[in-house]
């Protein structure tokens, strides 16, 4: 066998190849819309908006005017103010509930996929039970028992999201746990904790985060549906879903009362999906592999 001498050029330039991919105007438009919505929701108290709960019974379903930019609703409340304050509720629930899901579901899924055995059977079994349970019935039962509040609503939606996150985390962990780099880490004397947190978590995080953004979008819609059914935040607090629900009563007279919050929700969910997809494609370091 021929033997080659090691020749090392010290001046080999290491140029990190950075792909300057065009993100596209759609991505930036989505980012712009999200920043706009978040900023409006966060700064709602500072904006020169009328109170979202002040009723003006003489000015019900007023059309768009200089005083009421988006008109008033069936009880004479300023539609724009309700939309902005409703964004607060929708975004809070939409972000907090998936956080509950990704934390608990992700942890359970990784532990189940890594340790296998009886623990995995228990986790997967209980998640199947949770999945089989009709979500609306659960939401109804919890709100009936504990009362309607923002916290309860967030918790319900969070718990309902756990099985999906658990499955994503477990599936990814299962495919990774028998890979050689995990055995290599064990051979280097890594503890289970270290392997889970340092070797597996960075790998599992990517699909989980992509799923998280999808989860935010779905939760906003689900929160809307629950509020539409009157299971969401209690009145007079507005959320996009409850606004659509209230607008339904005057669909023939003033269809904008249902459509404006629906459009806001549609644009937000679409933006989240667009941003999530683009970010996942950009940050995946494995794209160069294989």
């Amino acid at each position: 066998m021929a033997t080659l001498e090691l020749t090392i050029d010290d001046d080999v330039a290491v140029i990190t190849v950075r792909r300057t991919r065009r993100l596209g105007s759609l991505f930036w438009a989505a980012i712009g819309w999200l920043i706009f919505v978040v900023a409006a929701a966060a700064l709602a108290g500072l904006l020169p908006l009328p109170s979202p709960t002040d009723m003006d019974m003489l000015d019900r379903r007023a059309p768009i005017s200089a005083l009421h930019w988006l008109g008033t609703d069936g009880l004479g409340r300023d539609e724009l103010a309700r939309l902005v304050y409703g964004a607060r509720i929708s975004l809070t629930v939409g972000l907090c509930a998936p956080v509950i899901g990704i934390t608990i579901g992700g942890a359970l899924g990784m532990l189940a996929g890594y340790f296998r055995g009886r623990f995995e059977t228990t986790v997967v079994g209980s998640m199947d039970v949770l999945l089989a349970f009709p979500p609306l019935i659960l939401a109804l039962a919890v709100t009936a028992y504990l009362g309607q509040s923002l916290l309860n609503l967030t918790c319900i939606l969070g718990v309902l999201g756990i099985p999906a996150f658990m499955r994503v985390a477990r599936a990814t962990t299962l495919s990774l746990a028998r890979r050689e780099f995990v055995i290599a880490a064990q051979a280097l004397g890594a503890t289970h904790m270290r392997i889970l947190l340092r070797e597996l978590l960075p790998n599992v995080m990517l699909p989980l985060l992509a799923f998280f953004l999808l989860g935010v979008a779905v939760t906003i819609v689900v929160e809307g549906s629950l509020s539409f059914l009157g299971l969401g935040v209690p009145p007079p607090i507005s959320s996009w879903g409850s606004m659509i629900g209230e607008g339904r009563e005057s669909l023939e007279i003033a269809p904008r009362l249902a459509f404006i919050p629906a459009i806001a929700m549609f644009l937000t969910v679409l933006s989240l999906n667009l941003v999530g997809d683009t970010l996942r494609a950009l940050t995946d370091p494995r794209q160069g592999a294989l």
Binding site: M1, A2, T3, L4, L6, I8, D9, D10, V12, A13, V14, T16, V17, R116, R179, E180, F181, I183, A184, A185, Q186, A187, L188, G189, A190, T191, R194, R198, E199, P202, N203, L206, P285, R286, G288, A289, L290
Partner: protein, 331 residues
């Protein structure tokens, strides 16, 4: 060897339960490796080489059953508690795997993987660990090590990745390095470089090494002793020069004949070993190589030959009709 061996594998057997019955992956293997020595383990795919290395590291699949003793530095690894075993791995025992694409974490930078290993075992602060990582990368022949630390595995070539894997394995100055087919996934020109690198680092660190490969050519110039494995058993064991001077086991001869030769005439058919290794879930009555062996006769189909030496004490083989013996049946 007069001094006690660093690693002594005594009667190690690995059983794997499969749906088709018990699979004996490693069958009563005895091996010794002295400090600073190199043992080559040769055999074709599925002969138990990798399972043997996993058995030494105590990293067998959960269902596998290990019997026998693995003595390392005077301690039986099988009886150690998980915590001391964990401390031993990495610090005293290290391993380099076949495919550097899968043995490095794809989403962590080279630097993270090296530095964390160093911090874990040597309790260095982050600056010292970084310094040492750069030195290690330079030692394994990686140009511009400082920049490499910030790169991901997929940004390196296969040879570079294997160098990084070797650097990680060497990071804590192990006493024994197990190289499990370290060059199989690499280009031929890179193979020689990686093997030279391993040999150089081994000499420098006075480290023992087990070189697992399916290529007799790889072990020829680079090992002190060779063990040839077939169907989970060691079928021939000898100091490297003695083995290549006078091999006794027909399987070893067949393996060597299967290596293409540069001086052969064009279009010379390459001799191959006909048939396939026996089904490891069914135990064969006779010698496991007998169905493929051209010397097989009589007793070969009836009983298993024991691993024993006849003329030289350190040259052992498991065969009734060793090459070079008179055409009679001994034993």
């Amino acid at each position: 060897m007069t001094e006690p061996a660093l690693l002594s594998v005594e009667g190690v057997a690995v059983d794997l339960p499969t749906p088709r019955g018990n699979l004996r992956a490693v069958d009563r293997v005895d091996l010794q490796v002295g400090a600073g020595r190199t043992l080559g383990v040769v055999g074709e795919s599925g002969c138990g080489k990798t399972m043997l290395s996993r058995a030494i590291l105590q990293l067998l699949p959960k269902k596998a059953k290990l019997s026998g003793r693995v003595m390392f530095d005077g301690r039986d690894l099988a009886s150690l508690d998980p915590e001391s075993l964990r401390k031993l791995r990495g610090r005293s025992l290290a391993v380099v795997f076949q495919d550097p694409m899968t043995s490095l974490n794809p989403v962590l930078t080279i630097g993270t993987q090296l530095i964390e290993t160093l911090q874990e075992h040597l309790e260095l602060d982050s600056h010292a660990a970084r310094q040492r990582s750069t030195e290690l990368l330079a030692a394994v022949g990686i140009p511009a090590p400082e920049q490499r630390l910030t790169q991901y595995p997929h940004q390196l070539s296969g040879g570079m990745r294997q160098r990084v894997a070797i650097a990680i394995a060497l990071s804590c100055e192990p006493k024994l390095l197990i190289a499990d087919e370290p060059t199989t996934a690499l280009d031929v020109t890179i193979q020689a470089q990686i093997l030279d690198l391993l040999a150089r680092e081994q000499r420098r660190r006075h480290m023992a090494m087990i070189l697992i490969t399916h290529d007799l050519g790889v072990v020829a110039g680079r090992t002190d002793e060779v063990a040839v494995m077939y169907a989970g058993r060691v079928v021939e064991r000898a100091p490297t020069p003695a083995l290549f001077k006078k091999m006794r086991m027909p399987y070893t001869e067949a393996l060597l004949a299967a290596i293409p030769k540069l001086d052969a005439a064009p279009h010379t058919p390459l001799p191959a070993i006909s048939g396939r290794p026996p089904d490891p879930t069914r135990s064969l009555k006779g010698c496991s190589f007998s169905p493929r062996c051209r010397y097989a006769a009589g007793s070969c189909y009836q009983e298993k030959p024991a691993l024993a030496g006849s003329d030289a004490p350190d040259h052992q083989y498991a065969c009734f009709h060793p090459i070079g013996a008179a055409a009679g049946i001994h034993a």
